[in-house]
Amino acid sequence: MIKHESIETNAGLLIALTMIVISIGGLVEIVPLFFIEDTIEKVEGVRPYTPLELRGRDIYQREGCYLCHSQMIRPFRDEMLRYGHYSLAAESQYDHPFQWGSKRTGPDLGRVGGKYSNEWHVAHLLRPRDVVPGSIMPNYPWLLENDLPYSDIQARMRALRTAGVPYSASQEEYEANVERFGEEVAKQLDILNAEENLMRQALNGNYDGNRGRITEMDAIVAYLQVLGTMVDFGQYDQGYFVEFR
């Protein structure tokens, strides 16, 4: 039996044992979720991000947007009325790391996709107070100045593939994605065509209002516009989601 004194006078041992105790608390809450069948709702439409959206997500994290904005609408009446349908676990199944949270200095962005026009997002990101006079959000003018670097997009997708996101790296995986998501989406998830897909989406979408260039603004607006739009809630009975709890 280890004595109190020998633990408390040995910093290394104290740290190790503290970490074990704390991780037990976390593990008993988290690990069962991997085995419980109802954790992730079975819904259609949720897909991994396209290469452009993925770069947008990277920028979202780089700029620390998550410090003020959560992407988790909780199942409360006031949140439903303000933001829309509560977030499903299924909707963030390809997020690594997820963007949940309850620290909201700014509003929740779980369903911001499609809520405002691209022009609004550009104006708002450049100078939030141009469109929302009382806003305390900082300006992000460099998003429109910086060309979007995307030469490493394949490496980024491969890293997420390692974490379990079904980006395809072989013909076999591509065909599995066609089966699972349909051809249109499967093409976007193909790592080998990532640069081309990114370019095409940015030029066709013209999210930043500047057709000639692909800027960081293209990527982050493309990302914001897809948030919370993948599941068509009209096709499910509200009672269906209750079955998963």
């Binding site: 109190h4 199942p75 409360f76 809520k115 009975d237 509200q238 009672g239």
Partner: protein, 312 residues
């Protein structure tokens, strides 16, 4: 026991120490916990045991204990009563259906949904309900672009409080704009016109709303505006009064939504503001809200926007 008596008792060894000593003589007394604390602790343990029985709690293989003697009933979209174990999603549905606020607002909602726009506008009570609910909806959904008061942002988002309407100011037209969205588009003429032509067109446009301009320039601008070179009259009409079906603004009323003429200090700046719009064109999108807001919510917002000012 007074403070000094306590210290004496401790010195005499009546209170145990934890047995550690730091720096030679630094010791820690092992006083018993206060009774109230100990009993509170036991109470939380008992609470946890009861909670485990009543509420979803323990993982078991691929499922979990759902709690007993604690069901909740809600109505699903198909109108069937569903009874299930207690959980927050069912609780939310019940709150949305039977909660105090939900029931009260639904009463009015049904009334408003059944009434025609004329009836709503004529009825003080329905109008008051509409204003108070729609103010929240407007704040959540519309104010980001159109501003909390609906004044919009010059050049980007239309003003909703003035008398000028791009897509029409009747309740039916406002409802259509909210439900289905709008795509405002004017082509860019930077390839078509040289600088002199831009000056001419801009002068003519300013003259339409009574600004003093160079008459020669305005005359040649008129040629472009009304002729095939510019073709401006396709959408703005030959009188310059605009066309609702295209969202083309009236150029004669001196109300400006894209070109920042009111903000210009002098004639040169006014000219430059109009030229900028002609040169770069306009692409403005109002998103469609019918998938995001319910039909009733769109009705409320329609009335609210109509009432902001200038409703026709």
């Amino acid at each position: 026991m007074s403070e000094s008596q306590k210290q004496d008792a401790q010195k005499q060894g009546a209170v145990q120490t934890t047995g550690h000593a730091w720096d030679g003589d630094l010791q820690e007394f092992n006083n018993p916990l206060p009774n109230w604390w100990v009993w509170s602790f036991y109470a939380t343990v008992v609470f946890a045991l009861i909670y485990w029985v009543l509420y979803p709690a323990w993982p078991v293989a691929s499922t979990y204990t759902k709690g007993v003697m604690n069901t909740i009933t809600f109505t699903n979209d198909a109108g069937e009563q569903v009874e299930t174990h207690w959980n927050t999603r069912a609780l939310l549905l019940r709150d949305m259906q039977e909660g105090k606020h939900a029931v009260r607002s639904r009463e009015y909602m049904e009334q408003v949904a059944a009434a025609s726009y004329d009836e709503i506008l004529a009825d003080e009570e329905m109008l008051a309900f509409t204003r108070s609910v729609a103010r929240g909806l407007f704040g959540d959904n519309c104010a980001a672009c159109h501003g909390a008061g609906g004044a919009g942002v010059m050049g980007l988002f239309p003003n909703l409080v003035d008398d000028s309407w791009l897509w029409g100011g009747s309740v039916e037209e406002i409802q259509l704009t909210i439900a289905e969205g709008r795509m405002g588009f004017m082509p860019a003429f930077r390839e078509t016109f040289d600088d002199q032509q831009l000056d001419a067109v801009a002068s003519y446009v300013l003259s339409l709303s009574g600004h003093e301009v160079d008459t020669d320039l305005a005359a040649s601008g008129k040629q472009i505006f009304q002729g095939e070179a510019g073709g401006c009259y396709y959408c703005h009409t030959s009188e310059g009064t605009g066309m609702k079906s295209q969202g083309a603004p009236n150029l004669t009323d001196n109300i400006w939504t894209v070109a920042d003429v009111p903000g210009a200090q002098d004639h040169e700046a006014r000219l430059a503001a109009v030229k900028k719009v002609v040169r770069d064109g306009v692409v403005r999108e109002m998103p469609a809200w019918q998938d995001r807001l319910s039909e009733e919510q769109i009705r409320l917002l329609t009335v609210y926007v109509h009432q902001l000012g200038g409703g026709q």
